[in-house]
């Protein structure tokens, strides 16, 4: 079966959505040339300058523009080049995009998609590496998805472009080149961005998302050599959260480790831990453990950069702690 990369899957999803629906348009800095990772390459040539808009360095204005265009019936996809710059668009997202449906007594809808990419990759530095999803999931009215593999990335973008309200698609720069066997993707309107089982196991459940899925799988393989069987779940949808399959897993394994790249403090792991324990407290044989980024600005130097986010070794170590 043919393979595709995560970046190609996203490009295909945008292409298919644009071909199907004239209301879909892209805007962002240098999107006409593909952006820094080439994700939107070729779309300007195919769909024209009226639907692939290169913008000035004006994140707040282009996000607000997209909100206005969405109110007028378009489906804009705004690219925020690095998730770190979502700070600049956040007022428009949190105070306008996320609220207008309710504030208007549901006269209005804001079907807006924001694509952005997060994460540590080759020393991009403290202002080009952060994972800021916790800020977004704190805003009612914003949906957030964080695909970890190419096929999910395709589906997540297609799904986002059919939602009635704003959705942030959090990509990971370290995943763009990752290949996966391409599934025959007949678009299924029933599909929802819920938890994906990456690896079945008996002894403990690891709940994760985005690029940490790979790290968790590497840890699971290493632990298998010691006879420890780990089940790995990739959440995919961060808001709203659907934890049903994960709860079922924890009821079997009785032990949970939550892993994310974002800093632990105030991170999504806290929300997950709280929800899990309220549902499966009686099934747990150990406290729920969280592993995430150290609470520091991400240092530039390669050995330090690697050390501030969970490694496969650290995940394996944490699983052993949960099992102890």
């Amino acid at each position: 079966m043919a393979e595709w990369t995560y970046a190609e899957a996203i490009r295909q999803a945008l292409t298919d959505a644009m071909a199907e629906d004239d209301a879909v348009l892209l805007l962002g800095e240098d999107v006409a040339l593909g952006g820094p990772f080439g994700v939107t390459r070729g779309l300007r040539e195919r769909f024209g300058a009226g639907r692939v808009l290169n913008t000035p360095i004006s994140e707040a204005a282009i996000t607000g523009f997209a909100v206005g265009a969405a109110l007028a019936g378009r489906r804009p996809v705004v690219e925020i080049m690095f998730m770190d710059f979502i700070t600049l668009a956040l007022d428009m997202l949190a105070n306008q995009a996320a609220k207008l449906a309710l504030l208007s007594g549901f006269q209005q809808a804001v079907p807006l998609v924001v694509r952005t990419q997060a994460g540590i990759y080759h020393s991009a530095g403290a202002q080009h590496s952060q994972s800021l999803e916790a800020w977004l999931v704190h805003v009612p009215g914003l949906a957030v998805v964080a695909p970890g593999v190419a096929n999910d990335a395709y589906r997540a973008v297609r799904w986002a472009l059919r939602q009635p309200g704003p959705v942030v698609v959090m990509e990971h720069k370290g995943l763009y080149g990752r290949r996966q066997a391409r599934e025959a993707l007949e678009w299924d309107p029933q599909w929802r961005p819920g938890p994906q089982l990456r690896r079945p196991g008996r002894d403990a459940t690891v709940v994760t998302y985005s690029a940490m899925g790979e790290t968790a799988l590497a840890a699971a393989s290493a632990l298998e050599r010691d006879g420890i069987s780990v089940e790995v779940w990739d959440l995919l949808g961060l808001s709203p959260l659907n934890l049903e399959p994960v709860l079922e897993s924890v009821r079997r394994t009785h032990r949970v480790l939550i892993v994310h790249e974002a800093v632990v403090t105030g991170g999504l792991g806290a929300e997950l831990a709280a929800r899990l324990q309220s549902e499966v407290f009686d099934d747990l044989d150990a406290p729920i453990f969280r592993l995430g980024g150290r609470p520091v600005a991400i240092p530039f130097s390669p050995p330090l950069e690697r050390a501030v986010i969970p490694s496969a070794e650290a995940v394996a170590e944490a699983v052993r702690t949960v099992l102890a």
Partner: protein, 312 residues
Amino acid sequence: MAIRVEDGIALYRAMFLIRRFEETVAEWVRAGLVPGFVHLAIGQEGAAVGVVHALDGRDVVFSGHRAHGHLLARGADPARVLAEILGRAEGVCRGLGGSMHLVDTAVGFWGATGVVGGTIPLALGAAWARQATGGVVAVFFGDGASTTGIFHESLNLASLWRLPVLFCCENNGYAEFTARAEQSPVAYARRFAEVYGIPSAGVDGSDVEAVFEAARAAVAEVRAGGPYFLEVEVARLSGHYEGDPQGYRSAEEQARQWARDPVRRWRDALAERGVAEEALAAVEEEVARQVEAAREQAQKAPWPDLTVLNHG
């Protein structure tokens, strides 16, 4: 009025140092030795040197993502700047910041940023808080930064509060891969200064002497009270980032830009004014030795230890 020969040679030395330094970084990028994103100042040396040489020890400088030249012009140790770009413990920021986040407070260089426009308002607050020193705060940014909201808020505030800030826009005609005309209908960012009531000037960045004179006049105005906006028109002779294939501009255009090489132009000007070839060659050899030594020192420098994160 032409500047003195010694000053002219000092400007040449400073520009040649930046050029050699950036060529070293470019070579290392090609060899895969440099982590992260690197934006070089090749072609923009005239702006960095002309403006920074018009400042003195009381003054403070901020910059953006294309900052190597500004920091070197300010007098930072090239070995420690190279070490920073490699992420080593001897770097000016102990390897924690990298190319886009250079700081060296010892030479009055208070910071660079990877977020376009991010340091512009910092210059305002620093200038306000340091008024008693008589110092000015100069902030470098690109033409692309003039399309950010923070740029406009900052110009308005600096003018309203008459802050001693020298806004220094290096207009290289591009923001990443997109030409100025596709970014703004306003070709020159100094037009924005006019409407905010900030005096301004434009100067050809390929002529370091003209930049130096314009910057001296600008700094004098800032010291007398209130902001000034200097737009230096430069040619970006490298790609946006090192490794940029530059498919968005023709080979002819890239070649044409080299006619605006400030280093070459100033060398020719000095020779025309009677500076001996040997004297220029001596400066170049000395700088080459300095960069060679810096390069060795930086490459030998150790990686930082995790404990550095616990500092302070």
